[in-house]
């Protein structure tokens, strides 16, 4: 861990990291971008989850909804990751000291694995790919898992600013 913290210290004190942390404008702009991009990444994955659970657009074939929402989810996540990466760059050692940050990163990995498992395994089962009603329970579970994981990620992310470091 101390080795990792050493690296984090170097990242944070790099020219770019310091520039972002000390800039009057860049820090709020990047933080604002991170928040706004969440409305699309988190927002559209939430809508996707609600479809998997059977709340949103239940009458529309699952594969149809997934195909149409996927580009927004992925596009949103690209911006969220990029802005989040820049924020991390400027305060790597500070946030890494918080267990909340570690928990948040683990949740992001878990959320990514859950989505991959859905896309590569559950979503390719014939009854899911061809929209045979009723959909297997695993679809609902994947949706609920995703909803829980990403919601907790947001909670931890916001609390990072409040918990003692």
């Amino acid at each position: 861990m101390s080795y990792l913290m050493g690296i984090a210290g170097h990242i944070e004190s790099s020219t770019f990291g310091t520039a972002v942390a000390e800039s009057r404008y860049w820090w709020p702009i990047i933080e604002g971008t991170h928040l706004l991009s969440l409305t699309v990444s988190f927002g559209f994955i939430l809508l996707t989850d609600l479809r998997l659970i059977g709340v949103f657009l239940r009458q529309v074939p699952l594969s149809d909804v997934l195909r149409q929402l996927r580009p927004y989810v992925l596009g949103g996540f690209a911006v969220t990751f990029l802005s989040g990466g820049l924020l991390f760059w400027s305060e790597a050692a500070t946030v890494m000291a918080s267990p909340l940050w570690t928990a948040k990163i683990l949740l992001i990995l878990l959320g990514g694995l859950n989505a991959l498992y859905f896309e590569l395994v559950i979503g390719r089962r014939p009854e899911v790919a061809h929209d045979h009603a009723p959909l297997p329970r695993s679809v609902r579970f994947a949706g609920m898992a995703s909803l829980t994981i990403w919601t907790t990620t947001i909670v931890f992310g916001r609390l990072l600013a409040y918990l003692p470091r």
Binding site: L35, T39, L57, V60, Q68
Partner: protein, 156 residues
């Protein structure tokens, strides 16, 4: 009663005192609720606007597409207003004299005044004319402005 006296009176109410004196995690909890409300509200409006502009879920009936998002919008609005009001109570003077907060409240009044009739029109399920689509897109911009102004409160 002058504005300052009003703000001080607000600060002295039981609820305001309770929030101010509470553990800082209560304020953190309000911040979490505020972000969630904002995400629900904006995600719903983005989906509705994209549908109106014909970018997503075009073959599905409008009333069907917007049913869940409209509920998300109202839940989100209730969450942001409630948590926001409680955060305001924790420091009425601090917020009232903040330029970003002033802009945010102005935009909020405009956005709510624009959004409610737009949603009502969409619920009618008649053909949606270009002016309504334009109004929906402009009001979405207002909501984004509210989010940006909100972030700015801590920086001005």
């Amino acid at each position: 009663m002058s504005i300052d006296a009003t703000l001080v009176a607000i600060q002295g109410t039981g609820l305001a005192r309770a929030i101010t004196k509470s553990n800082h995690m209560v304020i953190a909890g309000l911040q979490v609720a505020h972000v969630f409300g904002l995400l629900l509200l904006l995600a719903a409006l983005i989906l509705i606007t994209l549908r109106l502009l014909g970018w997503v879920l075009l073959r599905e009936q409008l009333s069907q597409v917007i049913r869940t998002p409209v509920r998300m919008f109202w839940c989100g609005l209730a969450l942001v207003l409630l948590s926001g009001a409680m955060m305001f109570l924790s420091g009425p003077k601090h917020y009232f004299y903040n330029r970003a907060f002033e802009v945010k409240m102005l935009l909020l009044v405009l956005a709510v005044a624009a959004q409610v009739p737009i949603l009502r029109r969409l619920a009618d399920d008649q053909a949606i004319l270009p002016p309504v689509k334009l109004a929906a897109a402009l009001s979405l911009v207002l909501w984004f402005g509210i989010a940006v102004a909100g972030r700015a409160i801590g920086f001005v």
